[in-house]
Symmetry: C2
Subunit: 422 residues, 2 copies
């Protein structure tokens, strides 16, 4: 576990980048998330760190000598932390490097952000017991949660090629669907298009094939966390998913936010990993004292929906649900330990999705499947429109942030995607 506080978390730190000191910024000097950006003049991706409304070009600031994010992610935890420390010191009020760093700044409004790294394999987990239970009830009213759920961090493989950066639209997918009263399936545009509120854990240090990662070392292999929307076609899923799991219902697009908030930045927001009384204890390979003490992370999450009609009216959208990552049933360390217990190798840039992060209350559903009860209960928006599923032109915006008395607020930026017609 690496949830140790150091002077980069000091809430009294101020930056000479004035916008980083605003109380409502996502990117104070205590955050320092990593991303890839480019400018119109220079089309190659560069590694940047967000500070207030600016982005610091790490190579131009002479902090690294490469534009390869995956190489940076692979660094040993100690080296990674020394890079964080150097960035923090250079951005502090009074830094001797202010002139060099200042020349390496770009306004965020002047750059384009891409995917934060080259993604290798993408695994999606299913860590919200609330999501699993609500979905399970729709399919199996008498037996919502399967017997393995409280023992196995359920996961499956997803598609990396169709992970797209925040801001990029995607076409409504076509696929086979079959209504119960139809004799044969038909091909057509998805009619039950959904989003999924997730976090993406991005792998840093790799492990060799055949060498499991122990709980005590698991977080050293995680570079950081982004927001992630795993768009889902529920009608296609219902017809295709037996017996091997979701496929075309999930792999047409998934949207990843540009900034990777490091586990180092999240250290002040660690909370105990707890389970409801009566639930089984994790097996030994998924258990560790540090995981019990501070394995979970308190991250507030929000989903916003902006319809085309709202956009035309200059309306930023409705917040349609909220939840918190601390309610997940399995921690980051447990996902890493489980994924590798069979010897599976993780590589820098691999993405571990949390699965839909729903909270315990019905209003905390992380998908429309939950909020509209499988489409049966459309809900009203402030514009007078209603939604059971996503319509063309709908934009979904995910937001996340950490708050804790005595610390600066740490934000994740946003993860935004718009549904285009089929």
């Amino acid at each position: 576990m690496n949830a140790a506080l150091d002077d980069t978390h000091n809430p009294a730190l101020q930056s000479w980048v004035a916008s980083a000191n605003a109380p409502d910024t996502d990117f104070p000097i205590q955050n320092l998330p990593f991303g890839r950006f480019r400018t119109e003049a220079e089309p190659d991706w560069r590694i940047g760190v967000a500070i207030g409304n600016q982005v610091l070009d790490l190579r131009a600031a002479k902090l690294i000598d490469s534009s390869d994010m995956n190489r940076l992610m692979r660094l040993l935890p100690g080296v990674r932390r020394s890079v964080r420390q150097a960035i923090s010191e250079g951005l502090r009020v009074g830094s001797a490097q202010q002139a060099v760093f200042k020349a390496a700044l770009h306004a965020q409004s002047d750059v384009a952000m891409g995917l934060p790294c080259q993604i290798g394999d993408y695994t999606d987990f299913y860590t919200s017991v609330h999501h699993a239970t609500t979905i399970g009830k729709q399919l199996r009213p008498d037996n919502p949660l399967l017997p393995n759920y409280k023992w196995v961090p359920i996961g499956y493989h997803g598609r990396a090629s169709s992970i797209i950066p925040s801001g990029q639209g995607f076409r409504r997918p076509k696929g086979q669907t079959k209504a119960p009263d139809q004799d044969a399936p038909t091909l057509g545009p998805c009619r039950r298009l959904d989003y999924e509120l997730e976090l993406a854990m991005l792998v840093g240090r790799p492990n060799a094939l055949g060498e499991p990662i122990a709980m005590a070392d698991a977080e050293d292999h995680v570079f950081g966390v982004s927001l992630f929307n795993d768009w889902s076609a529920r009608d296609i899923q219902a017809w295709e998913y037996q017996p091997l799991g979701p496929f075309l219902s999930k792999n047409f697009a998934s949207t990843l936010s540009p900034w990777v908030v490091t586990l180092d930045a999240l250290a002040p927001f660690r909370v105990p990993f707890t389970r409801p009384a009566g639930d089984p204890e994790p097996l030994a390979y998924l258990d560790a004292p540090a995981n019990r003490a501070q394995g979970a992370i308190s991250i507030e999450l929000e989903v916003w929906l902006q319809t085309a009609q709202m956009r035309a009216a200059g309306h930023a959208g409705d917040r349609i649900s909220r939840s918190n990552y601390r309610d997940a049933y399995w921690t980051v360390a447990q996902l890493v330990a489980h994924h590798t217990v069979n010897g599976c190798n993780l590589r820098a840039g691999d993405l571990l999705g949390s699965g839909t992060l729903s909270g315990p209350e019905p209003a905390q559903g992380g998908s429309l499947m939950e909020l509209s009860a499988g489409g049966k209960k459309p809900f009203a928006l402030s514009s007078g429109e209603t939604r059971a599923w996503l319509e063309d032109g709908d934009t979904i915006i995910l937001r996340g942030y950490c708050q804790q008395p005595g610390f600066r607020r740490i934000g994740f930026g946003e993860c935004r995607g718009t549904v285009l017609p089929a």
Copy 2:
């Protein structure tokens, strides 16, 4: 469809590489499969083509100017075919390039073969109706084949990081299992380790996200075919796979053969795509006249098992099953068209597994799960040993070849892997 014959298929062609003219070689001049090799002196991977017992270094032969296989795979079909034609002409008896090419040859016994390309996403299909039915009967005796099977080319995502080259051993995985009479699962080494006889289709030309590939164009996006063994931990699978499909039971290792036999080389072995009377016709997006006429490929497949005891006695192993790829329920073109109908993008180097290729007869099972009836009927080997599941030290060798009167035999080489202790 690109199953057109040209003069590279002429069975009368002879090569000045004498070993390519032997009647039993896998690699006559009519084959020309691609792979990546390296030598002790030069550790960087190079692109080679197998010819008899030699490998031709394509860059040294001045046929290409890069060592990037994925770049070569991405070529337009016409360009790809002109490369094939140039290789064929240079290797023919009487070629003016014999001296240049001869200097670019290495004995296969002197080089190490790696994975043929950098693999992006790996998808595994389930195209053998015989496999699906036999496995389904073990789980659901009254309802072996699910209602979607004859409509949807069932597939799911697999793990690319743990695909290993032929010849590399792998450790028996550990994982959670739970017997029906146990209250709680336990962690331990897999006790029901299995192989799966598959073919791997390697993607060449990519498609853009949001742009499906039509049946008529589908094979232009496939570079070629290799042998593939998707090792499986049946006891781990049984406990983990609901509701999202197999995960740790499959992602500890999959073995890929080194040589990619191009669809161009397989043109003489195309056969009609047929279905049993009474089965539904494919939906329009999975149908095309050329697919009906010659969408399937006749590839003879064999599985050999060599135990540690056999190896110590100098015994090459027992052939434990045979099947033919023509018995698959869905063709290569249908897999590509289905995979992209929702807009999913394929990239050069992506791998589409066929799924376990079992034939209609019980002895044609492509896995031990079938041959031993789920472990209930261990079978005898020529060494006097018996097997229900794989034991430590067991080596599985997959072989494949095409035969057709009037054409040279085309072989796939072998796909070999050995189980190491947990």
